[in-house]
Amino acid sequence: MSTNALSQHYAEQVQRLQDGLPGAIPEWLAGRRHGAAARFSEAGFPDPRQEEWKYTNVRPIATKPFMAAVSDAPVSEEALRAMGFEGLDAYRMVFVDGRLRTEFSDLGELPAGVTVQGLAEALASDPDPLEPLLGTLAHDRFSSFAAANMAFLTDGAVIRLGKGVRLERPLHLLIVGSAGSPATWSHPRVLIQAGEGSEATVIEHYADLEGASGFTNTVTELRAEAGAQLRHYLLQDHADSAYHVGSVFIQQRRDSRVTSHNVNLGGRLVRHDLNVDLTEPGAEIELNGLFLVGGRQHVDTHTRVHHSSPHTTSREQYRGIGQGHGRGVFKGRVLVERGAQKTDAQQHSANLLLSPNAEIDTKPELEIYADDVKCAHGATVGQLDETSMYYLRSRGIDAEAARGMLVFAFADEVLERMELAPVRTSIERRLAARLPEAGAIDVIG
């Protein structure tokens, strides 16, 4: 028996699942779920002896008896509005404890060629078109969390953009946890299929209702066909008592362009894996990330950019801020395959420690098997610049306000890359509220 063996609680959950898989689901799906359940059982939760989990011990997740929510939690429109983005004109899908709540969702008039629907509904009505999309990028061998997501799959979002279609308004997926007792776990899955030359913005946004301390285990599979342009926001603003593990898989074809904005503000224990495969020439990815860890928060982000074709480009900028006893981890791997000539990869990780008890580990990892490439990376962990502090103070700004300005400016260099001003402004406010030193921030100009 492996040391990772699932606790009695999770072993029972898997057993119940395997007994209860309905016969109505198509064979391909039943097969994938059975396989995933078996892999989750066998591998158990990852442990810190595994290189990929060296800095993040998921024991707090593994030892809690999370359960699927049994009924729809009460939700108010007001609570949802407070979590949303003021001034954002967007299509909206709301998920509570992993299940779509159509009464709070608004998909208005979608343009022709665009399909947006709940995953449970899609699987119930017409599952077969999902066979090539669901679980094909996200191999559940990748991690036992991805396997658990497939095994316990309940609902999620399916977004399909036909050839050349442009979705003008962004799509806001608001995925929230409720204060269930016992604490709930949920396994939302987001599938995005961007057809040739299509264009859209999808905001995957995690938050919690008052008092939530659940576990959200997500998987996102995003395919960008030739020339598609996708902007993907991954915003994690959970309650500080909540747990989150998310795996994003992006596959890009010729001349496609994907921009990823990944912001982590909340959560007790959070892990993100962003996996990008640039499979054809001209594919371009931009990865922007910001995390703030304070209190006893732990946020770990792993990115893996795979340049598997020549003439592919990646631009990656991640920033972390640690205060209190916060703990942050960034590991960025860039892999340039043999033959992926003219790869242009840049990665930068900058981190700011505001407290002697905060810790951030950053680790760039370049693996290059081609000889005609441009690859650059840099990583820094430091404190606020003394000279800048002095300069601001010499203008009459007190030390506390000066510190706030500098910290905020540091974070804003990532946030200013966001195309959607209402999202950016709202994130800036939430960030400022979490920075004790930055109380007086008002943004002008």
Partner: protein, 249 residues
């Protein structure tokens, strides 16, 4: 306004200021000149309150207050503004934001209501014109990507907005071409008034042909070795520091 009495200071182990005496009154313009390493910048930083500059003796009074009792930001709010020799680049902080925060910090200190964005912009636009700066400067990060001349203009712009009682300009003329020097000097001349003092710290005489000082002091090896009127600057121009230093020794 400013009374410096036997000021001594060191940076790390090195004793730099060895007893400076200087009095500056409202309405006066003083120039402190000296060769490299004479202690000019150290004097500015000590007056600004920068960490790492240790005062080992003497006193400095500003408007009757003991300067060394005040934090750097308090000194600024009391009315001392230091123009940096090397203005600091601050990525992510917009110029307008710094200006407004600094302006309002001062108003708050004086018990005046803070200016709103509209009022403030009106004020700043006027000052931008004096410094021949485009409004786009307001929305750029503080000094980031600015040329040497633009940085110095930005320092003077801050002075014009904040209207200090004492403007202390550290090598404001260094790195300026003749056109930028004119603009910067014009800005400083605008600051001249009966109730304001200006101290120019400079290596070269050329700034003084644009901003005429009332007093000139020569600093050498941490002491003021000679003081005079503006003709002293001309003498320096002719004979160099060497002559005056030898004469004083």
């Amino acid at each position: 306004m400013l009374k410096i009495n036997n000021l001594q200071a060191r940076v790390e182990a090195a004793e730099i200021l060895k007893g400076i005496d200087l009095e500056v009154k409202a309405g006066e313009v003083h120039a402190i000149m000296g060769p490299n390493g004479s202690g000019k910048s150290t004097l500015c930083q000590v007056l600004g309150g920068r960490d790492g500059y240790e005062v080992t003796g003497g006193t400095v009074e500003f408007m009757g207050k003991d300067l060394f009792e005040l934090e750097p930001e308090e000194r600024a709010r009391e009315g001392i503004l230091l123009g940096f020799q090397y203005p600091v680049e601050i990525p992510g902080v917009k110029n307008i934001y710094l200006l407004k925060e600094a302006y309002n910090a001062q108003r708050k200190h004086r018990g005046e209501p803070e200016a709103d964005t509209f009022q403030f912009l009106k004020l700043v636009r006027e000052k931008l014109k004096t410094m021949q700066m485009d409004e786009s400067f307001l929305h750029r990060a503080v000094n980031v990507g600015f040329s040497g001349g633009e940085k110095k203009r930005n320092e003077i712009l801050q002075m014009l907005v904040l209207e200090p009682k004492l403007a202390l300009l550290d090598e404001t003329d260094s790195g300026l071409d003749i056109d930028a020097l004119k603009v910067v000097s014009e800005g400083v001349n605008r600051l001249r008034s009966q109730d304001r003092a200006i101290v120019l710290v400079t290596h070269y005489q050329r700034l003084l042909s644009h901003i005429e000082p009332d007093f000139v002091h020569v600093l050498s090896d941490g002491r003021i070795i000679k003081s005079g009127d503006k003709t002293l600057a001309h003498e320096l121009e002719r004979n160099g520091y060497h002559g005056i230093i030898e004469e004083a020794a």
